[in-house]
Protein backbone atom coordinates (compact mmCIF):
# COMPACT_ATOMS: atom_id res chain seq x y z
CA UNK A 1 0.00 0.00 0.00
CA UNK A 2 2.92 2.26 0.76
CA UNK A 3 4.13 1.59 -2.73
CA UNK A 4 0.85 2.62 -4.18
CA UNK A 5 0.81 5.82 -2.17
CA UNK A 6 4.39 6.35 -3.30
CA UNK A 7 3.36 6.04 -6.92
CA UNK A 8 0.57 8.53 -6.33
CA UNK A 9 2.74 11.05 -4.49
CA UNK A 10 5.32 10.62 -7.22
CA UNK A 11 2.72 11.35 -9.84
CA UNK A 12 2.57 14.66 -11.55
CA UNK A 13 -1.05 15.38 -10.64
CA UNK A 14 -0.28 15.35 -6.93
CA UNK A 15 2.71 17.64 -7.26
CA UNK A 16 1.92 20.07 -10.01
CA UNK A 17 1.84 23.75 -9.16
CA UNK A 18 -0.11 26.49 -10.83
CA UNK A 19 3.14 28.00 -12.07
CA UNK A 20 4.11 24.77 -13.77
CA UNK A 21 0.71 24.49 -15.39
CA UNK A 22 0.99 28.02 -16.72
CA UNK A 23 4.50 27.42 -17.97
CA UNK A 24 3.37 24.29 -19.78
CA UNK A 25 0.76 26.46 -21.44
CA UNK A 26 3.55 28.87 -22.40
CA UNK A 27 5.46 25.95 -23.89
CA UNK A 28 2.43 24.91 -25.90
CA UNK A 29 1.96 28.48 -27.14
CA UNK A 30 5.58 28.56 -28.27
CA UNK A 31 5.08 25.27 -30.11
CA UNK A 32 1.91 26.61 -31.69
CA UNK A 33 3.67 29.76 -32.85
CA UNK A 34 6.57 27.74 -34.21
CA UNK A 35 4.59 25.03 -35.96
CA UNK A 36 1.43 26.78 -37.16
CA UNK A 37 2.68 30.33 -37.50
CA UNK A 38 6.21 29.54 -38.61
CA UNK A 39 7.92 31.54 -35.84
CA UNK A 40 11.63 30.56 -36.11
CA UNK A 41 10.72 26.89 -35.68
CA UNK A 42 14.32 25.65 -35.60
CA UNK A 43 14.75 27.28 -32.22
CA UNK A 44 11.23 27.68 -30.87
CA UNK A 45 10.30 24.01 -31.26
CA UNK A 46 13.19 22.90 -29.02
CA UNK A 47 12.68 25.86 -26.63
CA UNK A 48 8.96 25.19 -26.38
CA UNK A 49 9.48 21.49 -25.82
CA UNK A 50 12.22 22.19 -23.30
CA UNK A 51 9.70 24.39 -21.47
CA UNK A 52 7.29 21.47 -21.26
CA UNK A 53 9.99 19.11 -20.04
CA UNK A 54 11.42 21.34 -17.35
CA UNK A 55 8.00 22.12 -15.90
CA UNK A 56 6.89 18.51 -15.57
CA UNK A 57 6.68 18.03 -11.81
CA UNK A 58 9.01 15.34 -10.51
CA UNK A 59 10.57 14.57 -13.89
CA UNK A 60 13.96 15.84 -12.79
CA UNK A 61 15.14 17.15 -16.14
CA UNK A 62 16.95 19.93 -14.33
CA UNK A 63 18.19 17.89 -11.39
CA UNK A 64 21.86 18.20 -10.51
CA UNK A 65 23.86 15.00 -10.18
CA UNK A 66 24.61 13.80 -6.66
CA UNK A 67 28.04 12.50 -5.75
CA UNK A 68 29.04 10.69 -2.60
CA UNK A 69 31.94 11.85 -0.46
CA UNK A 70 34.39 9.85 -2.59
CA UNK A 71 33.26 11.52 -5.76
CA UNK A 72 31.32 8.58 -7.13
CA UNK A 73 28.07 9.32 -8.84
CA UNK A 74 25.14 8.46 -6.62
CA UNK A 75 22.40 9.75 -8.86
CA UNK A 76 22.88 11.22 -12.32
CA UNK A 77 21.64 14.66 -13.25
CA UNK A 78 18.83 15.38 -15.66
CA UNK A 79 19.34 15.77 -19.38
CA UNK A 80 18.65 19.49 -19.36
CA UNK A 81 21.00 20.00 -16.44
CA UNK A 82 23.86 18.55 -18.45
CA UNK A 83 22.92 20.43 -21.60
CA UNK A 84 22.66 23.77 -19.83
CA UNK A 85 25.83 23.49 -17.84
CA UNK A 86 27.97 21.92 -20.55
CA UNK A 87 26.81 23.98 -23.48
CA UNK A 88 25.14 27.20 -22.47
CA UNK A 89 26.77 28.23 -19.22
CA UNK A 90 30.14 27.68 -20.87
CA UNK A 91 29.10 29.53 -24.01
CA UNK A 92 30.08 26.58 -26.21
CA UNK A 93 26.74 26.12 -28.00
CA UNK A 94 26.23 29.75 -29.08
CA UNK A 95 29.82 29.81 -30.32
CA UNK A 96 29.37 26.65 -32.37
CA UNK A 97 26.14 28.04 -33.79
CA UNK A 98 28.04 31.17 -34.74
CA UNK A 99 30.64 29.04 -36.52
CA UNK A 100 27.81 27.41 -38.47
CA UNK A 101 26.18 30.75 -39.24
CA UNK A 102 29.53 31.99 -40.49
CA UNK A 103 29.77 28.97 -42.76
CA UNK A 104 26.32 29.79 -44.12
CA UNK A 105 26.90 33.50 -44.66
CA UNK A 106 27.78 34.95 -48.06
CA UNK A 107 29.53 38.28 -47.66
CA UNK A 108 29.46 38.91 -51.41
CA UNK A 109 26.75 41.59 -51.35
CA UNK A 110 28.45 43.36 -48.46
CA UNK A 111 31.82 43.33 -50.21
CA UNK A 112 30.25 44.67 -53.37
CA UNK A 113 28.89 47.64 -51.41
CA UNK A 114 30.75 48.08 -48.11
CA UNK A 115 28.91 51.29 -47.28
CA UNK A 116 26.00 49.12 -46.21
CA UNK A 117 28.04 48.37 -43.09
CA UNK A 118 26.92 51.82 -41.87
CA UNK A 119 23.33 50.64 -42.03
CA UNK A 120 24.24 47.65 -39.92
CA UNK A 121 25.90 50.00 -37.46
CA UNK A 122 22.95 52.38 -37.21
CA UNK A 123 20.46 49.62 -36.58
CA UNK A 124 22.32 48.71 -33.39
CA UNK A 125 20.89 51.91 -31.90
CA UNK A 126 17.87 49.79 -31.05
CA UNK A 127 20.08 47.80 -28.69
CA UNK A 128 21.43 50.73 -26.77
CA UNK A 129 18.22 52.73 -26.61
CA UNK A 130 16.67 49.67 -25.02
CA UNK A 131 19.50 49.37 -22.54
CA UNK A 132 18.67 52.90 -21.49
CA UNK A 133 14.99 52.04 -21.26
CA UNK A 134 15.67 48.98 -19.12
CA UNK A 135 18.02 50.98 -16.93
CA UNK A 136 15.28 53.59 -16.54
CA UNK A 137 12.77 50.95 -15.47
CA UNK A 138 15.30 49.62 -13.01
CA UNK A 139 16.34 53.02 -11.67
CA UNK A 140 12.75 54.10 -11.15
CA UNK A 141 12.10 50.96 -9.18
CA UNK A 142 9.33 49.76 -11.50
CA UNK A 143 11.13 46.56 -12.39
CA UNK A 144 14.04 44.77 -10.81
CA UNK A 145 16.75 45.32 -13.45
CA UNK A 146 20.38 46.10 -12.79
CA UNK A 147 22.89 47.22 -15.41
CA UNK A 148 23.75 43.65 -16.40
CA UNK A 149 20.09 42.83 -16.90
CA UNK A 150 19.65 46.01 -18.93
CA UNK A 151 22.55 45.13 -21.20
CA UNK A 152 21.21 41.62 -21.76
CA UNK A 153 17.73 42.93 -22.52
CA UNK A 154 19.10 45.46 -24.97
CA UNK A 155 20.77 42.75 -27.01
CA UNK A 156 17.33 41.50 -28.06
CA UNK A 157 17.41 44.47 -30.41
CA UNK A 158 20.34 42.82 -32.16
CA UNK A 159 17.83 40.41 -33.70
CA UNK A 160 20.39 37.69 -33.44
CA UNK A 161 19.54 34.64 -31.38
CA UNK A 162 22.93 33.12 -30.58
CA UNK A 163 24.39 36.54 -29.75
CA UNK A 164 21.52 37.20 -27.36
CA UNK A 165 21.95 33.80 -25.71
CA UNK A 166 25.72 34.21 -25.43
CA UNK A 167 25.50 37.65 -23.83
CA UNK A 168 22.62 36.75 -21.52
CA UNK A 169 24.24 33.56 -20.31
CA UNK A 170 27.24 35.67 -19.27
CA UNK A 171 25.48 38.75 -17.88
CA UNK A 172 22.10 37.68 -16.61
CA UNK A 173 21.45 33.94 -16.88
CA UNK A 174 18.14 34.11 -14.96
CA UNK A 175 16.63 36.14 -17.78
CA UNK A 176 17.82 33.69 -20.43
CA UNK A 177 14.43 32.16 -21.09
CA UNK A 178 12.54 35.41 -21.50
CA UNK A 179 15.26 37.06 -23.57
CA UNK A 180 15.72 34.14 -25.94
CA UNK A 181 11.98 33.81 -26.42
CA UNK A 182 11.67 37.52 -27.09
CA UNK A 183 14.60 37.54 -29.51
CA UNK A 184 13.37 34.64 -31.61
CA UNK A 185 9.71 35.68 -31.50
CA UNK A 186 10.44 39.17 -32.71
CA UNK A 187 12.81 37.86 -35.39
CA UNK A 188 9.82 35.89 -36.64
CA UNK A 189 7.61 38.97 -36.39
CA UNK A 190 9.91 41.10 -38.53
CA UNK A 191 7.48 40.94 -41.50
CA UNK A 192 4.79 42.46 -39.25
CA UNK A 193 6.84 44.85 -37.12
CA UNK A 194 8.99 46.47 -39.77
CA UNK A 195 6.78 47.47 -42.73
CA UNK A 196 4.70 50.19 -40.98
CA UNK A 197 7.86 51.83 -39.67
CA UNK A 198 9.54 51.61 -43.04
CA UNK A 199 6.54 53.13 -44.79
CA UNK A 200 6.17 55.89 -42.22
CA UNK A 201 9.78 57.01 -42.58
CA UNK A 202 10.06 56.93 -46.37
CA UNK A 203 8.34 58.69 -49.25
CA UNK A 204 7.02 56.70 -52.21
CA UNK A 205 9.74 58.29 -54.32
CA UNK A 206 12.44 57.06 -51.94
CA UNK A 207 10.97 53.58 -51.94
CA UNK A 208 11.22 53.51 -55.73
CA UNK A 209 14.92 54.33 -55.81
CA UNK A 210 16.64 51.82 -58.02
CA UNK A 211 20.07 50.76 -56.86
CA UNK A 212 23.00 50.06 -59.16
CA UNK A 213 23.69 46.45 -60.04
CA UNK A 214 26.15 44.98 -57.53
CA UNK A 215 29.65 44.58 -58.92
CA UNK A 216 31.08 41.08 -59.17
CA UNK A 217 33.19 40.05 -56.19
CA UNK A 218 36.46 38.15 -56.48
CA UNK A 219 36.92 34.92 -54.58
CA UNK A 220 40.08 36.35 -52.99
CA UNK A 221 38.11 39.23 -51.51
CA UNK A 222 35.80 36.75 -49.87
CA UNK A 223 38.65 34.66 -48.51
CA UNK A 224 40.44 37.69 -47.07
CA UNK A 225 37.37 39.33 -45.53
CA UNK A 226 37.04 37.08 -42.45
CA UNK A 227 40.74 37.58 -41.77
CA UNK A 228 40.42 41.36 -41.96
CA UNK A 229 37.41 41.29 -39.68
CA UNK A 230 39.28 39.08 -37.25
CA UNK A 231 42.29 41.39 -37.28
CA UNK A 232 40.13 44.39 -36.42
CA UNK A 233 38.52 42.45 -33.61
CA UNK A 234 41.90 41.40 -32.29
CA UNK A 235 43.17 44.97 -32.31
CA UNK A 236 40.12 46.82 -31.06
CA UNK A 237 37.66 44.65 -29.20
CA UNK A 238 38.92 41.33 -27.87
CA UNK A 239 35.75 40.84 -25.84
CA UNK A 240 33.89 40.35 -29.12
CA UNK A 241 36.50 37.82 -30.20
CA UNK A 242 34.75 34.61 -29.17
CA UNK A 243 31.61 35.35 -31.19
CA UNK A 244 33.26 37.00 -34.16
CA UNK A 245 36.24 34.68 -34.09
CA UNK A 246 34.08 31.61 -34.55
CA UNK A 247 31.96 33.45 -37.10
CA UNK A 248 35.06 34.30 -39.13
CA UNK A 249 36.34 30.75 -38.79
CA UNK A 250 33.13 29.33 -40.19
CA UNK A 251 33.14 31.85 -43.00
CA UNK A 252 36.76 31.15 -43.88
CA UNK A 253 36.00 27.43 -44.06
CA UNK A 254 33.16 28.28 -46.41
CA UNK A 255 35.09 30.57 -48.70
CA UNK A 256 38.57 29.10 -48.78
CA UNK A 257 37.37 26.30 -51.03
CA UNK A 258 39.73 23.62 -49.73
CA UNK A 259 37.79 22.24 -46.76
CA UNK A 260 34.34 21.60 -48.22
CA UNK A 261 34.01 18.52 -46.04
CA UNK A 262 34.38 20.56 -42.87
CA UNK A 263 32.24 23.42 -44.10
CA UNK A 264 29.51 21.02 -45.05
CA UNK A 265 29.44 19.32 -41.66
CA UNK A 266 29.54 22.70 -39.94
CA UNK A 267 26.49 23.83 -41.89
CA UNK A 268 24.55 20.63 -41.38
CA UNK A 269 25.09 17.88 -38.84
CA UNK A 270 27.01 20.07 -36.41
CA UNK A 271 24.81 23.18 -36.38
CA UNK A 272 21.66 21.05 -36.38
CA UNK A 273 22.76 18.99 -33.40
CA UNK A 274 23.84 22.06 -31.48
CA UNK A 275 20.60 23.87 -32.34
CA UNK A 276 18.56 21.07 -30.79
CA UNK A 277 20.60 21.16 -27.61
CA UNK A 278 20.73 24.96 -27.48
CA UNK A 279 16.95 25.15 -27.71
CA UNK A 280 16.39 22.49 -25.06
CA UNK A 281 18.94 24.18 -22.82
CA UNK A 282 17.25 27.56 -23.14
CA UNK A 283 13.97 25.85 -22.37
CA UNK A 284 15.50 24.65 -19.12
CA UNK A 285 15.50 28.27 -17.94
CA UNK A 286 11.75 28.57 -18.57
CA UNK A 287 10.62 27.88 -15.03
CA UNK A 288 7.68 29.67 -13.48
CA UNK A 289 9.72 31.64 -10.96
CA UNK A 290 12.01 32.93 -13.69
CA UNK A 291 9.45 33.57 -16.40
CA UNK A 292 6.09 34.38 -14.81
CA UNK A 293 6.82 37.80 -13.44
CA UNK A 294 6.60 41.44 -14.32
CA UNK A 295 10.18 41.47 -15.57
CA UNK A 296 9.24 39.17 -18.43
CA UNK A 297 6.50 41.55 -19.49
CA UNK A 298 9.03 44.34 -19.35
CA UNK A 299 11.48 42.31 -21.43
CA UNK A 300 8.89 41.52 -24.07
CA UNK A 301 7.86 45.19 -24.29
CA UNK A 302 11.41 46.49 -24.35
CA UNK A 303 12.41 43.92 -26.93
CA UNK A 304 9.63 45.05 -29.22
CA UNK A 305 10.69 48.68 -28.78
CA UNK A 306 14.28 47.70 -29.52
CA UNK A 307 13.24 46.18 -32.85
CA UNK A 308 11.26 49.26 -33.78
CA UNK A 309 14.04 51.69 -32.91
CA UNK A 310 16.62 49.57 -34.71
CA UNK A 311 14.45 49.44 -37.81
CA UNK A 312 13.91 53.18 -37.75
CA UNK A 313 17.59 53.92 -37.16
CA UNK A 314 18.57 51.78 -40.13
CA UNK A 315 16.12 53.48 -42.45
CA UNK A 316 17.12 56.95 -41.29
CA UNK A 317 20.81 56.17 -41.70
CA UNK A 318 20.13 55.07 -45.27
CA UNK A 319 18.43 58.40 -45.93
CA UNK A 320 21.39 60.21 -44.39
CA UNK A 321 23.88 58.29 -46.50
CA UNK A 322 21.85 59.17 -49.57
CA UNK A 323 22.55 62.84 -48.96
CA UNK A 324 26.28 62.38 -49.13
CA UNK A 325 26.57 59.82 -51.87
CA UNK A 326 26.25 59.83 -55.59
CA UNK A 327 25.37 56.12 -55.63
CA UNK A 328 21.69 55.99 -54.64
CA UNK A 329 20.63 53.86 -51.69
CA UNK A 330 17.04 52.78 -51.33
CA UNK A 331 16.24 53.49 -47.66
CA UNK A 332 14.14 50.33 -47.51
CA UNK A 333 17.32 48.31 -47.20
CA UNK A 334 18.24 50.20 -44.02
CA UNK A 335 15.79 48.18 -41.97
CA UNK A 336 17.67 45.02 -42.89
CA UNK A 337 20.50 46.29 -40.69
CA UNK A 338 18.87 44.79 -37.60
CA UNK A 339 19.98 41.39 -39.00
CA UNK A 340 17.22 38.76 -38.56
CA UNK A 341 18.88 37.11 -41.59
CA UNK A 342 17.36 36.63 -44.16
CA UNK A 343 13.87 37.68 -43.07
CA UNK A 344 14.61 41.41 -42.82
CA UNK A 345 16.20 41.45 -46.27
CA UNK A 346 13.14 39.76 -47.69
CA UNK A 347 10.93 42.40 -46.11
CA UNK A 348 13.02 45.11 -47.76
CA UNK A 349 12.66 43.32 -51.07
CA UNK A 350 8.91 42.95 -50.66
CA UNK A 351 8.33 46.63 -49.94
CA UNK A 352 10.60 47.55 -52.82
CA UNK A 353 8.55 45.43 -55.20
CA UNK A 354 5.37 47.03 -53.88
CA UNK A 355 6.71 50.46 -54.78
CA UNK A 356 8.12 49.38 -58.13
CA UNK A 357 7.51 45.89 -59.52
CA UNK A 358 10.92 45.90 -61.21
CA UNK A 359 12.89 46.94 -58.15
CA UNK A 360 14.66 43.89 -56.71
CA UNK A 361 16.31 44.84 -53.44
CA UNK A 362 17.02 41.39 -52.03
CA UNK A 363 20.74 41.23 -52.79
CA UNK A 364 21.23 44.89 -51.87
CA UNK A 365 19.55 44.25 -48.52
CA UNK A 366 21.75 41.23 -47.81
CA UNK A 367 24.64 43.65 -47.27
CA UNK A 368 23.18 45.51 -44.27
CA UNK A 369 21.62 42.24 -43.16
CA UNK A 370 24.94 40.50 -42.57
CA UNK A 371 26.46 43.79 -41.41
CA UNK A 372 23.86 43.72 -38.66
CA UNK A 373 25.21 40.40 -37.44
CA UNK A 374 28.68 41.89 -37.12
CA UNK A 375 27.28 45.04 -35.51
CA UNK A 376 25.39 43.10 -32.86
CA UNK A 377 28.42 41.01 -32.07
CA UNK A 378 30.47 44.21 -31.64
CA UNK A 379 27.78 45.62 -29.36
CA UNK A 380 27.84 42.35 -27.43
CA UNK A 381 31.59 42.70 -27.03
CA UNK A 382 31.24 46.22 -25.63
CA UNK A 383 28.67 45.08 -23.12
CA UNK A 384 30.67 42.08 -21.95
CA UNK A 385 33.72 44.29 -21.66
CA UNK A 386 32.00 47.12 -19.75
CA UNK A 387 29.55 45.39 -17.43
CA UNK A 388 30.56 41.73 -17.57
CA UNK A 389 33.68 42.08 -15.40
Amino acid sequence: MNNFLGLWFDSGLAQITLGQLLMMAVGLVLLYLAIRRGFEPLLLVPIGFGTLLVNMPGAGFEAAPVFDSLGHLESPGGLLYYIYHAGIETGLFPLLIFMGVGAMTDFGPLLANPRTLFLGAAAQFGIFATVLGAAGLGASGILDFDIRDAAAIGIIGGADGPTAIFVTSKLSPDLLGAIAVAAYSYMALVPIIQPPIMRALTTPAERQIKMEQLRPVYKLEKVVFPLILLTLVALLLPSAAPLLGMFCFGNLMRECGVVERLSDTTQNALINSVTIFLGLGVGSKMSAEKFLNAETLGILTLGMIAFCIGTAAGVLMAKLLNRFSRHPINPLIGSAGVSAVPMAARVSNKLGLEANPHNFLLMHAMGPNVAGVIGSAVAAGVMISLVGG
Binding site: L117, L132, A139, P216, Y218, R346, A379, V387
Partner: protein, 80 residues
Amino acid sequence: MQSTLMQGGMDLMLYGMGTVFVFLTLLVFATAATSSLVQRFFPVDEPPRIPSREVPAKTPVPPDILKAIQTAIDRHRHRH
Protein backbone atom coordinates in the same frame (compact mmCIF):
# COMPACT_ATOMS: atom_id res chain seq x y z
CA MET B 1 22.13 54.11 -6.64
CA GLN B 2 19.33 54.78 -9.09
CA SER B 3 21.19 57.53 -10.87
CA THR B 4 24.22 55.26 -11.09
CA LEU B 5 22.11 52.80 -13.03
CA MET B 6 20.92 55.45 -15.48
CA GLN B 7 24.49 56.70 -15.76
CA GLY B 8 25.61 53.16 -16.53
CA GLY B 9 22.98 52.90 -19.24
CA MET B 10 24.08 56.22 -20.76
CA ASP B 11 27.71 55.12 -20.68
CA LEU B 12 26.85 51.85 -22.35
CA MET B 13 24.96 53.66 -25.08
CA LEU B 14 27.68 56.21 -25.76
CA TYR B 15 30.60 53.82 -25.68
CA GLY B 16 28.57 51.14 -27.39
CA MET B 17 27.31 53.13 -30.36
CA GLY B 18 30.71 54.83 -30.55
CA THR B 19 32.53 51.52 -30.72
CA VAL B 20 30.06 50.04 -33.20
CA PHE B 21 30.48 52.99 -35.56
CA VAL B 22 34.24 53.24 -35.19
CA PHE B 23 34.59 49.53 -35.71
CA LEU B 24 32.33 49.28 -38.73
CA THR B 25 33.81 52.44 -40.25
CA LEU B 26 37.27 50.93 -39.98
CA LEU B 27 35.87 47.78 -41.49
CA VAL B 28 34.46 49.77 -44.41
CA PHE B 29 37.85 51.28 -45.08
CA ALA B 30 39.76 48.05 -44.59
CA THR B 31 37.37 46.19 -46.87
CA ALA B 32 37.43 48.85 -49.55
CA ALA B 33 41.22 49.00 -49.41
CA THR B 34 41.53 45.23 -49.69
CA SER B 35 39.08 45.08 -52.55
CA SER B 36 40.98 47.68 -54.55
CA LEU B 37 44.24 45.86 -53.80
CA VAL B 38 42.74 42.61 -55.02
CA GLN B 39 41.28 44.23 -58.11
CA ARG B 40 44.57 45.92 -58.92
CA PHE B 41 47.08 43.20 -58.16
CA PHE B 42 45.22 39.91 -58.48
CA PRO B 43 42.65 40.77 -61.12
CA VAL B 44 42.93 37.74 -63.37
CA ASP B 45 43.20 35.44 -60.44
CA GLU B 46 39.97 33.85 -61.58
CA PRO B 47 36.68 34.96 -63.06
CA PRO B 48 34.80 36.93 -60.43
CA ARG B 49 31.52 35.53 -59.25
CA ILE B 50 28.42 37.58 -59.81
CA PRO B 51 26.25 37.37 -56.71
CA SER B 52 23.14 35.50 -57.68
CA ARG B 53 19.71 37.08 -57.39
CA GLU B 54 18.42 34.40 -55.07
CA VAL B 55 19.34 33.75 -51.47
CA PRO B 56 21.51 30.68 -51.84
CA ALA B 57 20.04 27.40 -50.71
CA LYS B 58 21.47 26.54 -47.35
CA THR B 59 22.20 22.93 -48.13
CA PRO B 60 23.39 22.76 -51.70
CA VAL B 61 23.63 19.44 -53.45
CA PRO B 62 27.14 18.14 -52.78
CA PRO B 63 29.39 18.18 -55.86
CA ASP B 64 29.96 14.44 -55.83
CA ILE B 65 26.26 13.84 -56.11
CA LEU B 66 25.92 16.33 -58.90
CA LYS B 67 28.73 14.52 -60.64
CA ALA B 68 26.99 11.21 -60.11
CA ILE B 69 23.83 12.63 -61.59
CA GLN B 70 25.76 13.94 -64.56
CA THR B 71 27.40 10.56 -64.99
CA ALA B 72 24.06 8.82 -64.84
CA ILE B 73 22.64 11.18 -67.43
CA ASP B 74 25.64 10.70 -69.68
CA ARG B 75 25.47 6.96 -69.41
CA HIS B 76 21.79 7.09 -70.10
CA ARG B 77 22.34 9.13 -73.22
CA HIS B 78 24.90 6.65 -74.50
CA ARG B 79 22.47 3.80 -74.13
CA HIS B 80 19.93 5.53 -76.37
